[in-house]
Symmetry: C2
Subunit: 280 residues, 2 copies
C-alpha cells in the first residue's frame, strides 16, 4: 500500500463507551441501584482467572459492583446450574457471566442456557442468539459486538461489503456473522472444513479472524485494501492474523493486544448497565 | 452438460418420510394418542388458506388430527397470542403452526415467539432458531430442513462444499444457512444489498434460491455442475430459479412445483409426530 494502514486501536472505542456509561451509572446510583455483574469461574485455569479478574477490575473502575463466584474444578453441571439459578433470582445482580471454557465434565451449553435472558449480558444463551439473529432486542455476544463497534468507531462501511468470517464458534464466529449480515454485509462463514480458505479470504473486503490459531491468517491471502479484525486471543497475546505480513496488504487492521479485547470488556459493562436500567 | 441433469423430485423424499412416520403414528394411536397439529390462519388470504388446507389434508391422510383455527383479518397481536397461549396449554395439541404471513397490524415475531418451543413444529421461534444454530435439539424450520432432506436423499455431499444462499429471511435464508454450516459447508449468505450477486453465485457448488422473486436466478450465473435448490413459491407455482436456463448448467436441480414444497409439509408432520412422542 502507498499509505500507512490504519490501526484500529481499541482504546478510543473503549473511552467512548465508558464516557457514555459514567453518567448512566451515576444516575442509577442516585436511585440506589449499583449495576452489579456476577462472574462465575469454575476451576483454576490461570488464563480464565485473569480474564475474570480483569472484568471485575473494570467494574470497580467504573463504580459498578462485581461479585466473584469461584467454584471447584469438579463442579457438576447441576451444581453450576443451581448457582446460576440463585443468581437469576437475586435482584441485586443485574448481569451474569460464566467464564468460558468450563471443565470438560460440565455441559457448557446447558449451563449457558440456564442464564436468565434478562441477565445474559455476555450474550451466550441460545435464546439471546436467536433473538439477536432475528433483530429482536437482546444482548449480543460481547466480542462480536465489539468488532462491530470498532468498525463503526472508525467509520468503516459494512453495508454491501463482503465479509469473510473464519471460525464458527457459538460465541464468536456464528454471532459476528449474523451481526454483519443484519448490517447488510454479504457474509461468508469459513471453518476447519472449508476448502481453499485462502481463496475465500481473498474475496473479502472485511476479514474477521476468529479461529483461535496464532498467526494463522496470512497477508498473501488478502485482497489489497482489506480490513482485518483479529479476535484471536492465543497464548502470549498473539492474534489469529499474521500481523506483519497483513500490514503490507490491509487498509486497516486491529492490533493484538489492544484491539478487540478491551472493547469486549467495555461491551460487557455496557450490557450490565443496560440490564440494571431495565430492572428499575 | 453432456448428461441430463438430475431432477431432485420431492415425491420419493416424502414417500420415505411418510413410510417412517406411519408405524410411529400407529404406535402412538395404540397408546391412545393421536398426533395433532393446530393450524392458525389469520385473515382471508387465499394462498394462505390453501397452504393451511393442504397441511390439514396431509395430517388426515396419515391418520393424524388437525385443528384449524381461523381468526378474522382484524385480529390484534394480543388476541393472537392469547389463542396461542391456549393451544400451548392444551395437552391434546402437539404442534402449532401459525400460517405466515399475518396481517400487517400483528407483531409476527412476537406471535411466533409466543409458541411453546415443545410445540414449535414449524421451527419459527427465536429460541428454536438459537438452539438449532447451536446444535441443541430443536425443531428446525421446515423448508430449510426439507432442503437438507432432499440433498441427503439424493446423496449430494454437503461437507466442504461452498453453498451460496440467496435470501436471509427468518424462516428460510437464515436457518438454511446454519443447517448447511452445521453440516460443514462453507456458506455465503447473499441478499438484496449484495453487490455482484451473479459473481457470488458463480462460486457456488450448491445454490439455495430463497429470495421470493420469480425466475430470478439465471443459468448464466452458475458454475457448471452446480446443484440448485429452489425454495421459491411465487404466484403461479413459479420458482426463484429460471429453470430452463439453469438446466444447461446444473448437475441437479429441484423442479417447481414438486421439489422442496411437498417435503416441507412432510417435515411439519414429522415434527408433529416427534412432539407427540415427546409428550408421552
Amino acid at each position: 500500500m502507498s499509505h500507512e494502514p490504519l490501526m484500529l486501536e481499541g482504546k478510543p472505542v473503549v473511552a467512548e463507551i465508558y464516557a457514555n456509561l459514567s453518567s448512566r451509572i451515576e444516575a442509577l446510583t442516585a436511585q440506589g441501584i449499583t449495576p452489579c455483574l456476577a462472574t462465575i469461574l469454575v476451576g483454576d485455569d490461570p488464563a480464565s482467572a485473569t480474564y475474570v479478574r480483569m472484568k471485575g477490575n473494570a467494574c470497580k473502575k467504573l463504580g459498578m459492583e462485581s461479585r466473584r463466584i469461584h467454584l471447584p474444578a469438579d463442579t457438576t453441571t447441576k451444581q453450576l446450574i443451581d448457582t446460576i439459578a440463585k443468581l437469576n433470582q437475586d435482584t441485586a445482580v443485574h448481569g451474569i457471566l460464566l467464564q468460558h471454557p468450563v471443565p470438560a465434565q460440565i455441559d457448557e451449553r446447558a449451563a449457558f442456557d440456564a442464564i436468565d435472558s434478562a441477565k445474559d449480558v455476555d450474550g451466550v444463551t441460545s435464546l439471546g442468539f436467536g433473538r439477536m439473529s432475528y433483530n429482536v432486542p437482546a444482548y449480543a455476544s460481547c466480542t462480536p459486538e465489539a468488532i462491530l463497534s470498532v468498525l463503526d468507531h472508525y467509520q468503516i462501511d459494512i453495508e454491501g461489503k463482503h465479509a469473510v468470517v473464519i471460525g464458527r464458534s457459538a460465541i464468536l464466529g456464528k454471532p459476528v456473522s449474523f451481526l454483519l449480515l443484519n448490517r447488510n454485509a454479504t457474509v461468508t462463514i469459513c471453518h476447519s472444513k472449508t476448502k481453499d480458505l485462502a481463496e475465500h479470504v481473498g474475496h473479502a473486503d472485511i476479514v474477521v479472524a476468529a479461529v483461535g490459531r496464532p498467526k494463522f491468517v496470512q497477508g498473501s491471502w488478502l485482497k489489497p485494501g482489506a480490513v482485518v479484525l483479529d479476535a484471536g486471543y492465543n497464548e502470549g497475546n498473539i492474534g489469529d492474523a499474521d500481523f506483519e505480513s497483513c500490514l503490507d496488504k490491509v487498509k486497516a487492521i486491529t492490533p493484538v493486544p489492544g484491539g478487540i479485547g478491551p472493547v469486549t470488556i467495555a461491551k460487557l459493562l455496557q450490557h450490565t448497565v443496560e440490564a440494571a436500567e431495565a430492572s428499575v
